[in-house]
């Protein structure tokens, strides 16, 4: 070969020799007690329907935003990503900032869920959950935050039920699918999922995970684990690594009809951004999204690239919109230490500016309803006569459609 490969090999072996101590120490780390639990922030399950659970995280800090926030995660992977560990928890950050948080746990679909459509998830489960929270707090509107595919659901829901959503926050949410920035957008163009759905019933989570690994095998299959072995004696690193592995490979199957519709209507036909998508027999008109909208996405997101996110604010009916592009990736937005200091404070401040006290109802659930009464929440009527409706634009908010780089909020 004409190059001293032997020298490189020798150096590599020397490196191994030097790291013997590290390898020995790794025994202590791997065989010792490791704290690798995820989703440790205490919560209460306040609503349940089929496989769906609604988690309620109550803030003990001074209340900054009266309106509770409902977070809707994707059907792909699990919502535990938002509460990976105490130091890297979006949920905990919201609680510390004085916001009560509700989060949907979509559970693990089984074969019997294969016929569930986007309509069943949005107009069924999600609507029931929103109704429940409205009733529980005695409020006409709640704040809604969607993550990835959950953000797409949140957009659809806000377009179909704008009277129930006070503020909408979309994070790494695909809304415009006709882009070639991301491999998923390229691959899904020519894929016929009908056969897979017919064969498996649901889209197997492991198959999806395999697809995600193939997005960048050099980094996700090789480099990541090289990093693992290089830090094998570092307890903190190993704990964080294992937590992330637990989350990544905790992949529920996705209901067959839902993923089929999502791929066909969104990825292949790009109907949502054109306001041509139909859900439950109703057209999803983006102009109906009239509530304030905060749209956050990652500049280096390889799953949902900026091109899939940045058109939304110009298509909705709201005049109070804001795009925020963070210089990170799909997951980094939620778990990177650096962006933890920017992401949640930005949302909190944005919500705080739009949180009028006149329609926040009866405050906490305990104040709203005596113990035991919350189960009647679903009977709350959709509109409450006499309540003040929200204006379309608040003073001091940014003009529609502009994107600003985010600076840390002090």
């Amino acid at each position: 070969m004409g190059v001293p490969l032997n020298e490189i090999w020798t150096k590599w072996l020397e490196g191994i020799e030097k790291s013997r101590e590290r390898i020995l120490k790794s025994r202590e780390v791997l065989l010792g007690a490791l704290d690798t639990d995820i989703g440790k922030t205490p919560y209460e399950v306040v609503y349940q329907e089929d496989r769906i659970r609604l988690k309620y995280y109550r803030s003990s800090a001074d209340r900054q935003v009266e309106t509770p926030l409902l977070m809707v995660y994707a059907l792909i992977n699990r919502e535990t990503m938002l509460d990976l560990q105490p130091g890297r928890s979006v949920v905990r950050n919201f609680l510390n900032e004085g916001i009560d948080v509700y989060m949907i746990d979509w559970g693990y679909p089984t074969r019997k869920d294969r016929f569930l459509t986007i309509d069943d998830h949005v107009n069924g489960y999600l609507n029931n959950v929103v109704e429940f929270i409205r009733g529980r707090h005695g409020i006409p509107k709640i704040n809604l935050m969607g993550i990835c595919m959950g953000g797409t659901f949140a957009i659809i829901y806000s377009a179909l039920h704008p009277e129930k959503i006070k503020n909408l926050v979309t994070t790494v949410t695909p809304s415009s699918f006709d882009t070639d920035q991301g491999l998923l957008h390229i691959w899904t163009k020519g894929i016929d999922l009908g056969g897979i759905i017919k064969a498996y019933g649901n889209m197997p989570g492991d198959l999806l995970n395999l697809g995600f690994l193939l997005l960048n095998p050099a980094r996700l299959v090789i480099d990541k684990y090289i990093g693992f072995f290089e830090n094998i004696d570092n307890k903190d690193f190993i704990e964080n690594f294992v937590r992330m592995e637990k989350w990544i490979f905790d992949s529920p199957d996705v209901p067959g009809e839902t993923i089929r519709q999502f791929i066909e209507d969104c990825y292949q036909k790009n109907l949502l951004i054109q306001s041509k998508m139909e859900v439950g027999g109703r057209r999803v008109e983006l102009k109906s999204v009239t509530m304030p909208l905060l749209n956050i996405y990652g500049k280096y997101d390889h799953l949902v690239p900026p091109g899939a996110c940045d058109q939304l604010t110009s298509k909705v009916g709201s005049r109070d919109t804001e795009d925020v592009c963070l210089e990170t990736g799909h997951i980094g937005i939620y778990v990177s230490s650096k962006y933890q200091r920017q992401f949640t404070p930005k949302i909190v401040q944005w919500l705080k500016q739009r949180d009028g006290t006149s329609e926040t109802g009866r405050g906490t659930p305990e104040e709203a309803f005596p113990a035991g009464e919350t189960t009647k929440a679903m009977q709350v009527p959709e509109s409450r006569p006499g309540r003040k409706t929200q204006g379309r634009k608040s003073a001091g908010h940014r003009a529609k459609g502009k994107t600003v780089p985010l600076t840390p909020v002090s």
């Binding site: 074969r111 491999l183 894929i191 064969a199 095998p217 090789i222």
Partner: protein
């Protein structure tokens, strides 16, 4: 390996390997005629010729690199290490030979890569024209239906295997290319006298090169088609497999997926109807309560 025994007491490995090699090469040549007729492949023949040449290079290196095939030696060697040393002494394998080796250094035009492609293509066409029709021969008799299902499953299994092989081959290409690129990069660094003592530097270069090769592959139409084929064949195999399993399960007192899917669909429809009915009742009750 033990050295060759000129007295003939030990097994003559060298002659045995030579005979075996000749047998396979002549068999490969025979099959080449079949493959060529079916799929019009010329690469395979080229590969066979290079393999023969390469084998003889190791057997009779002293004869010179260009005319191994023309020479013969009464004392063929079988010691691979010695053979390699002799080949290297004569300047290594010729360009025609080395291009057929994995990581052979020819980059995107590597003969090995072309051969992999060609072999898959040849096999796919051979299967399509020579084997598949036999699985579609009409079945008769009592077990006709079952036999047809099993033939269908066999067909789908073969198609699935072909799709998996093609996909795996595509995935292996960036890895091979990365080694070739890496070798060129090392040559370049050596020329500039910029070689590093830290192996992590080389790892960093390699992983980046590999990542770039994968990104190029993943954006190609060839990969998209292979991925689509793999997904379709996986689904088809599973569906036909389920058909066979469903037939087998009919003999057991347990419900099949097909049975359960029918129940689930009915349950789904009933739940929706019940939900709609509940909403209407609530609306009526609310209206009545309001007076």
């Amino acid at each position: 390996m033990p050295p060759n025994n000129p007295e003939g007491n030990a097994f003559d490995w060298s002659q045995w390997i030579e005979s075996l090699g000749s047998f396979y090469l002549s068999a490969a040549k025979s099959w080449q005629a079949v493959f060529s007729a079916l799929a019009g492949s010329s690469v395979f023949e080229e590969y066979v010729r290079a393999s023969l040449s390469m084998w003889r290079a190791f057997q009779w290196p002293s004869a010179g690199m260009q005319d191994f095939a023309a020479k013969a030696s009464p004392q063929p060697s079988f010691d691979m290490f010695q053979a390699m040393m002799r080949v290297m002494d004569h300047g290594g394998l010729s360009k025609d030979m080395s291009k057929w080796l994995p990581f052979g250094g020819a980059g995107a035009d590597s003969g090995f890569e072309k051969l992999q492609h060609e072999m898959l293509k040849v096999w796919a066409e051979f299967y399509e024209k020579a084997i598949r029709p036999s699985l579609k021969v009409p079945q008769v008799g009592l077990t006709r239906v079952f036999q047809e299902k099993i033939n269908r499953f066999t067909d789908k299994f073969n198609k699935y295997q072909a799709a998996v092989s093609e996909f795996q081959m595509l995935l292996s290409v960036p890895m091979e290319k990365s080694f070739v690129t890496m070798r060129e990069e090392l040559d370049r660094l050596k020329e500039k006298d910029e070689l590093s003592e830290d192996h992590k530097v080389y790892y960093g270069i390699w992983i980046k090169v590999l990542e770039n090769h994968y990104m190029s592959l993943f954006r190609s139409a060839e990969y998209r088609e292979a991925l689509s084929r793999l997904i379709n064949e996986t689904a088809a195999l599973r569906i036909t497999g389920n058909e066979v399993l469903t037939d087998l399960l009919q003999f057991l007192p347990i419900p099949t997926n097909k049975d359960m899917d029918e129940v689930y669909r009915e349950l789904y429809v009933l739940k929706k109807q019940a939900g709609d009915a509940a909403k209407r009742i609530n609306a009526v009750e609310s209206a009545l309560a309001k007076g």
